[in-house]
């Protein structure tokens, strides 16, 4: 096992933890895909295979009390923000034990206690609330940061521009994490953006922007920590651009007719954040197998937990409409 140098800012041990978490997300997503195809999971599901390093890198840089808003591709963010796989899987099965108690589903994962203000199925829908949360932190002088995850597709919608403008105008402690996977569902970036470098959009509002290789969890973590410190120190919001790859379809079952198969194969071989990290860590097969078995057991257990969960009564639908 090769020694990893400390200059990176995190210890070997921490990096192994990151790997374990990313592997957990990967195995979880694979399991979700398997159970969905088996017909056990209702609804509309989007998995984040290929984008695990951003979820783990950013969330591991957060402090207690920081909050996030996620997207329709939310399983990774939710696990990384600390929700137990059991609660997440139970939600996907529509059980009361789920993190949204069966009211949300895959695209509406909440865990308020752990600072997850909700995944949003409307592209860009969660950004304004992150500005508001950050405004509340500023009002109260609390050293907390609000973080919005969103994709490159969301940078074309009005809420993105209104939110960045307002956040910068009011200098609120927010970080806007753009997961640039170059696809807005099936539409490639060249068809939905007239520019290549998305940091220019943030710069238009005078906002500090940072750019990082989103497949390198160590880098994501390092740069996210910088962004969070900037915001927390009252220096204003930050736009954090993470270049990444979606190594699967938009949704489970997406035949990806719009995508070049060879290019996808090439990316799966060269841009898999887990493979890159495994190599960097120089994990032995035995170590890898041991970790894999550990997370696989967690994932399997989550399915058992979810299936044994409590179905809501139909009339439970009438609860929680009003406070």
């Amino acid at each position: 096992m090769a020694k990893v140098e400390q200059r990176r800012g995190v210890s070997d041990e921490t990096l192994r933890e990151f790997f374990r978490e990313m592997l957990l997300i990967r195995r979880f997503e694979e399991k979700v895909e398997e159970r969905f195809r088996a017909g056990e999971l209702p609804g509309f599901l989007h998995v984040g295979i290929g984008q695990e390093a951003i979820a783990v890198g950013v969330c591991r840089a957060l402090a207690d009390g920081d909050v996030i808003a996620s997207t329709h591709r939310a399983h990774g963010h939710t696990l990384a923000k600390g929700t137990h796989p059991n609660e997440l899987m139970a939600e996907l099965y529509g059980k009361l034990e789920g993190c949204s108690h069966g009211y949300g589903g895959s695209m509406h994962l909440y865990d308020v206690e752990r600072g997850n203000l909700g995944a949003n199925a409307v592209v860009g829908g969660g950004l304004p609330a992150i500005v508001g949360a950050a405004l509340a932190f500023k009002f109260r002088g609390e050293p907390r940061v609000a973080v919005a995850f969103f994709g490159d597709g969301a940078t074309n919608i009005g809420t993105f521009h209104e939110s960045l403008n307002l956040a910068q105008l009011w200098q609120v402690p927010a970080v806007f994490v753009c997961e640039n996977n170059h696809w807005a569902e099936s539409t490639p970036a060249k068809q939905h953006m007239p520019i290549e470098d998305l940091t220019r959009r943030a710069e238009a509002f005078g906002m500090k922007s940072l750019k990082v290789d989103g497949q390198d969890v160590e880098e994501v973590h390092r740069v996210a920590a910088r962004a969070l410190k900037h915001a927390r120190d009252g220096k204003g919001p930050v736009f954090l651009l993470c270049e990444t790859q979606r190594l699967v379809g938009h949704y489970i079952g997406d035949p990806q007719v719009y995508r070049d198969k060879e290019e996808l194969n090439r990316l799966q071989e060269t841009a898999d954040p887990l493979e890159l990290l495994r190599e960097k860590l120089g994990l032995s097969d035995a170590d890898y197998e041991a970790l894999d078995q550990e997370v696989q057991e967690l994932v399997d257990a989550s399915v058992e937990f979810a299936k044994a969960g409590t179905d809501p009564k139909p009339e439970d639908a009438l609860k929680n409409v009003y406070a």
């Binding site: 009211y103 509406h108 909440y110 909700g118 409307v122 829908g125 508001g132 949360a133 209104e162």
Partner: protein, 329 residues
């Protein structure tokens, strides 16, 4: 007892809440130095400063959306959307976000946000500054909808809206801002979901909202001259609706007219009529009559605007229809 205009009553409720509670703040377009496009927030910047009386860019999505975010963190923001017509821009945030966060989170979140807005015809702004859209929001589970028609009501209801743990869309009427009324020294909070009987009567119940409450009261005076005794009920809160008060009144009078400035088709009155027929069918002695705007966008030319929106004479005509005795129709 101080006399307050409707405008001052709104300001009074906002100011008292902000004095009492640091979690309350207001934001919106032109609300600071200018004091709001309707002058509602005049002087508040001086008292509370620019942090709590926040001028915003022209960004309805972000105004409402950041209000949602702050509310989810436990603050009680009151955001102002300058005209009801502009609610359309923030519709996604109101309908998909504010109304649903509590539900989608399985009860983990609360969104104590008040969205103040105003509209209404009578001053010829044309089609994009006067539409009445309150009914759109009544059909969205998770939202509460208030439409106050007098200074005392607007003050007491706004207070309750601010302290409600749900998002409240709070409608004010443009032409009522100058309306004056003696009000109590202290704010008397009015529970959300409680109707007000403005005038008791025996023969016909008019369920009216907003400006039409005053038109209905004028029509009731005229009807009185004709020997018809009219009861005027203002629901004040459209969601939740005080069905009991409306049904009780109709059971007494056996006739019902619904009246609002918004278009009749799919207007709030349609819901009231449905409630009445369902709960008071055997008490009805005439079909429920509806009074509302004609089905057009609001025209500019004053004569056309006057023609499109309903007035006291339209309410009176509807009242006469319900008590008609001459066999013609």
């Amino acid at each position: 007892m101080p006399e307050l205009s409707y405008r001052e009553a709104v300001r009074d409720a906002l100011s008292r809440a902000m004095r009492a509670d640091e979690d309350v703040f207001i934001m919106g377009e032109d609300i600071a130095e200018m004091g709001g496009s309707m002058g509602v927030t005049q002087g508040m910047l001086d008292e509370f400063g620019p942090e709590r009386v926040r001028n915003t860019p022209i960004s309805e999505m972000a105004i409402v959306g950041s209000g949602i975010g702050a509310a989810m963190q436990g603050m009680r923001p009151v955001v102002e959307v300058m005209y009801e017509d502009f609610l359309t821009i923030s519709m996604e945030q109101i309908v998909n976000q504010a109304a649903k966060h509590r539900y989608m989170s399985g009860g983990q979140l609360k969104v104590p946000l008040t969205i103040r807005t105003q509209g209404g015809a009578g001053w010829s702004p044309g089609a994009q500054h006067a539409q009445q859209v309150e009914a759109w929001f009544v059909g969205v589970p998770g939202l509460k909808v208030v439409f106050a028609s007098t200074p005392s009501d607007v003050r007491g209801l706004l207070w309750s809206a601010i302290y409600d743990d749900n998002p409240v869309v709070f409608f004010e009427h443009r032409t009522l801002y100058g309306l004056k009324e003696e009000v109590a020294e202290e704010i008397e909070p009015i529970p959300i979901g409680q109707a007000r009987v403005h005038r008791e009567g025996e023969d016909v119940t008019v369920v009216a909202t907003g400006r039409l409450v005053h038109e209905a009261l004028a029509a009731a005076e005229e009807a009185e001259q004709e020997g018809v005794s009219v009861e005027v009920v203002d629901p004040r809160t459209l969601q939740p609706l005080d069905e009991d008060a409306i049904v009780a009144s109709v059971k007494k009078t056996n006739r019902c007219v619904v009246a609002h400035e918004a278009v009749t088709r799919m207007g709030f009155g349609a819901e009231v009529a449905a409630v009445v027929q369902q709960q008071a069918f055997d008490w009805l002695d005439a079909p429920v009559e509806r009074v509302g705007a004609k089905f057009t966008p609001l025209p500019f030319a004053p004569v056309m605007e006057e023609y499109v929106v309903p007035h006291a004479k339209d309410v009176l005509e509807a009242i006469r229809k319900t008590v008609q005795r001459d066999g013609t129709s």
